[in-house]
């Protein structure tokens, strides 16, 4: 099997667990399977260290313009997404990269970026419970599901806040590699695997 590229965006004021949860789920899955499945990496606007919420600093593996084309793209949320909504260069990158991805997953307020680039048009979606109105304003043609941990539209998946991203990613692992693999990864990180009950 050819290893697939899984990119996780990081940016100033990204919510810590929004990117770290998916990173853990996907990298543990790869590790438990002889490193055969996924090449997981972070992508920043540049490769300068990024200061996440509360000061945690992460060094991105790649910058936007030199990163390998992702097969799967994870867009975390956090207060920092608001600045990205105005960042033309970043939005252009999303618009160019999205069609080449097999799946795009947003966590928390990462959904705002998908909405801003028109990628949620006509789909069902969810986001952090605190910003349903914000998402609604940015994506009037999107049906917002307020009681789901995450929503699967096939190519595009969106999750509710913070820890819901872990559920969505475990579900994604089961979609890609089978439920046994997802259960094994969940067990390793001592997380209760029950994503299907949350899914729309």
């Amino acid at each position: 099997m050819i290893k697939k590229n899984l990119a996780i965006l990081v940016f100033a004021d990204v919510e810590v667990l929004d990117f770290a949860g998916p990173f853990e789920v996907f990298s543990v899955t790869d590790e438990l399977n002889n490193h055969d499945l996924l090449n997981v990496y972070t992508v920043g606007l540049t490769t300068d260290p990024v200061s996440a919420r509360n000061g945690l600093k992460v060094v991105p593996d790649y910058a936007l313009d030199d990163c390998p084309q992702p097969d799967y793209l994870v867009i975390p949320g956090g207060f920092g997404t608001r600045a990205l909504l105005e960042d033309e260069k970043f939005l252009a990158w999303i618009t160019q990269t999205a069609p080449l991805c097999e799946n795009i997953l947003s966590v928390c307020s990462g959904a705002l970026i998908l909405a801003r680039t028109g990628l949620l048009k006509g789909l069902k979606a969810t986001t952090h419970h605190g910003i349903f109105p914000e998402l609604e304003a940015l994506a009037p043609e999107t049906e917002i599901l307020r009681d789901k941990r995450f929503v699967d539209n096939g190519k595009i998946l969106t999750s509710a806040g913070v820890t819901a991203g872990i559920d969505m990613c475990l579900y994604m692992v089961s979609r890609l590699f089978g439920e046994d693999t997802a259960v094994e990864s969940a067990k390793y990180i001592e997380y209760t695997y029950s994503p299907l009950q949350f899914c729309d």
Binding site: A20, E31, L56, D61
Partner: protein, 234 residues
């Protein structure tokens, strides 16, 4: 609403090469969220929790998943004084087998851990001088016995002065402070596991009176015994 001034708590996480990222980021997220709630709902002026990462070297450290987190400080240039550090968190993960055998890592945890989230039973394990170790064991097992400095010094066959000096050096606090901490810890275990009245608990834990125990709880834990029982008792 008036803004509240609260004391900022210093939280430090010890990280190392090949640590598990959720071990670090999970707690971090919780404290970040608590900061946000305290700032917004209770209008606190300062952040309630200040978190830093410390490692063998300052700068990027690769986690077991490949994610690179940046250590704010190194063990040997750690800027927070042991008495100012409120909580020390130690991450886990595959890398612990290498990190756990490094002297600077262990020394750091001994120095910092011996002061912040203090456990008197841990102090006993750290105490290297044989005679002091025996005395600490005796103290921990007999909280209700009288423990004046001269009797403890006598037990170690040392002068009072020498005993106080060596005790401070090995345990990191004066004998008097240690006795109080140890008695409070003992009383806490009683509250957690038994239903006896506070008068009896005070007595078997070595406090002269219930009132003395109350004051010691307030000093050590900033909570009164009955409130502690309400939250953590059976």
């Amino acid at each position: 609403m008036n803004k509240k001034i609260i004391k900022t708590r210093q939280i430090t996480q010890v990280i190392f090469k090949n640590a598990q990222i959720l071990d670090i980021t999970g707690p971090m997220e919780v404290f970040a969220q608590a900061n946000e709630i305290l700032t917004q709902s209770f209008q606190c002026i300062e952040a309630a929790y200040e978190i830093s990462l410390v490692s063998h070297k300052k700068g990027p450290v690769a986690m077991s998943s490949g994610l690179k987190l940046v250590a704010d400080e190194s063990f040997d240039s750690f800027s927070i004084a042991p008495q100012s550090l409120d909580t020390l968190l130690i991450a886990g993960g595959n890398g612990v087998y290498q990190a756990g055998f490094q002297k600077d890592f262990l020394d750091f945890i001994k120095t910092q851990g011996g002061q912040s989230q203090f456990s008197t039973s841990l102090a006993q394990q750290f105490a290297v001088k044989g005679i002091l170790k025996e005395t600490l064991t005796w103290m921990n097992q007999n909280p209700d016995k009288a423990m004046s400095i001269d009797s403890l010094a006598h037990r170690c066959a040392m002068s009072e002065r020498n005993f106080a000096r060596i005790f401070k050096q090995e345990v990191g606090m004066t004998p008097g402070k240690y006795v109080e901490k140890m008695r409070v810890e003992y009383a806490v275990r009683q509250i957690e596991t038994h239903d006896q009245g506070f008068k009896l608990i005070a007595h078997i834990s070595g406090f002269d009176s219930e009132e003395r125990m109350r004051r010691a709880f307030k000093r050590q834990l900033n909570v009164l015994p009955h409130l502690y029982r309400k939250r953590f008792g059976r």
